[in-house]
Symmetry: C2
Subunit: 310 residues, 2 copies
């Protein structure tokens, strides 16, 4: 895997999973999944990723080889006795909502991130959706990051709000979906909710809205509204949000120059990766596409969003 | 009312109403409303509008004077014995859905559009949401239009599908919201639904998604995705879709040059008008703002959507 323009690596901590997913397009059993996997493979289109996670003893070795082949450093993915985290879910209709059928945490239940020494100098850090106490632990071990970001979910917002707020106080970017933004703040209006989240710490709040695109709020007078790619078929939405955030952080690591203009580009690259990801089950689409495909779709996004001045 | 750059007028047919609306921001009783009113006042920021509708004998004269003062030709709005169309509704939470509390058609029930002779040479025609049989009747009386568009609603999709299809076969642009696009085609995927609607006739399908912006589909390889304006407070969403379509058609009449680039601009102007409209009850915000405010917000839309090339 060649990552020609990477200037920095991105450290990614989160779940590595075997997912059983059913959608109107079909079904896969115990396929490669997990937030850390989707986000690190998305990031790997732009920059080397450093994965931190845990799998069970029987986790298929070809999955780890696939990650390594994508430029993902897998030394931070521990193999321990027990079973790998397993999620089973289904999607229906507009597929905007997953129905969770089973969540077996297995080895993920006692997961404690253990960073290889050189990981601690990572300049770009993405804390994918895990227990905020673990997100904090990772932040404690990274020495001098340039850009940190977190994701979360409804479960942590309701069960560990204090730990989550500590995470938010320490990251630069919060990735949340619209429902999570509302849940976290009690604000129905998304712009108000984003403002409230920014008060908790993150200078940048990126609201993921699935098929409706995303919104980025920051100190600027204007937020950024990014379209989603108008697909005629969504095969499997699993991992879209992780691919979005991973692509976004991977691009930021590759340019290693934090400006709002670059963050806006990164968000469109994130949308690009998310749009490819949902075109196949598990990581099948990421296995097919090249960086050139990513660049072509980025240019399509430009055409989709373009309008002339007044 | 000065409309400095108007090259053509836009004929608009639809409801003129007195609305009672309750939202978390307050309540108005029997305030000026109706699809033809919202859309013709939105259009009037760009071009003269020609209104076609009906009101009851007691309809407040200041409402008609307001329309005339905005550059709306009111000769096509008939005053007849009986009561004006009355709609009562409320909005809660994210206000994306109206709860209809009362619909009293009154004089609108026996409405038959009767176009003043000079209206029949209108080059721009917007058939707001009314019985598709009446939309067809208007099309039959317009001699040589350059650009025709229709709106509709769930009620006509289920009750008069054949008449609606005849309308769609004859207009250039169909404005529908996402739920209507799905209902009309049976397709959950919006891009597929838009393609199916285009097969029924309209070369351009514009899907209105409320707070999630809009999508325009045409023969081009790329659709156009427009953001909505990120408001911190929505006072009353009534008339947003009508303001969007009216602003869009008014802009097209003002430039009188049909290109995809102009249509994309028109959609952003439509979004601009819709965003102002929802900031007040009834047409209160339209009474406050000037064309300069519209231009300023258009430029804000540019900043909100902008990202650099890859």
């Amino acid at each position: 895997m060649v990552v020609p323009d990477a200037r920095e690596s991105v450290l990614i901590v989160g779940s590595v999973a075997l997912d059983t997913v059913e959608t109107p397009a079909g079904r896969v059993e115990r396929a490669l999944g997990g937030a850390a996997v989707y986000s690190s493979v998305a990031a790997s289109f732009f920059a080397p990723a450093r994965g931190v996670g845990v799998v069970g003893a029987a986790f298929p070795r070809q999955h780890l080889e696939f990650l390594a082949g994508r430029g993902v450093d897998i030394r931070g993915i521990k193999i321990v006795d027990g079973k790998t985290f397993h999620w089973a879910g289904s999607y229906e209709g507009d597929m905007n909502q997953a129905n969770t059928l089973a969540t077996e945490l297995n080895v993920f239940q006692s997961f404690a991130p253990d960073l290889p020494e050189d990981y601690k100098d990572s300049k770009y850090v993405f804390l994918a959706n895990i227990d905020p106490a673990l997100q904090l632990d990772v932040l404690d071990h990274v020495r001098n990051p340039k850009l940190t970001a977190c994701d979360t979910m409804n479960f942590w917002i309701s069960s560990k709000p204090d730990e989550l707020k500590k995470v938010l106080a320490r990251v630069d970017i919060a990735f949340v979906n619209d429902a999570e933004a509302r849940q976290l703040t009690g604000e129905v209006n998304i712009t108000k909710a984003a403002t409230e989240i920014r008060k908790l710490g993150p200078r940048y709040v990126i609201i993921k809205k699935g098929e409706h695109g995303s919104l980025m709020y920051c100190d600027s007078d204007y937020c950024f509204s990014a379209a989603s790619y108008p697909l005629t078929e969504v095969v499997d939405p699993t991992g879209a949000g992780d691919s979005f955030a991973g692509g976004c952080m991977g691009y930021m690591a590759s340019v290693d120059d934090f400006t709002e203009a670059n963050l806006r580009r990164a968000i469109v690259y994130g949308s690009t990766l998310a749009s490819f990801n949902v075109q196949g089950f598990s990581l099948s689409k990421f296995r097919e596409i090249t960086r050139a495909d990513v660049e072509n779709r980025y240019r399509e996004f430009q055409k989709i969003a373009f309008f002339d001045g007044a």
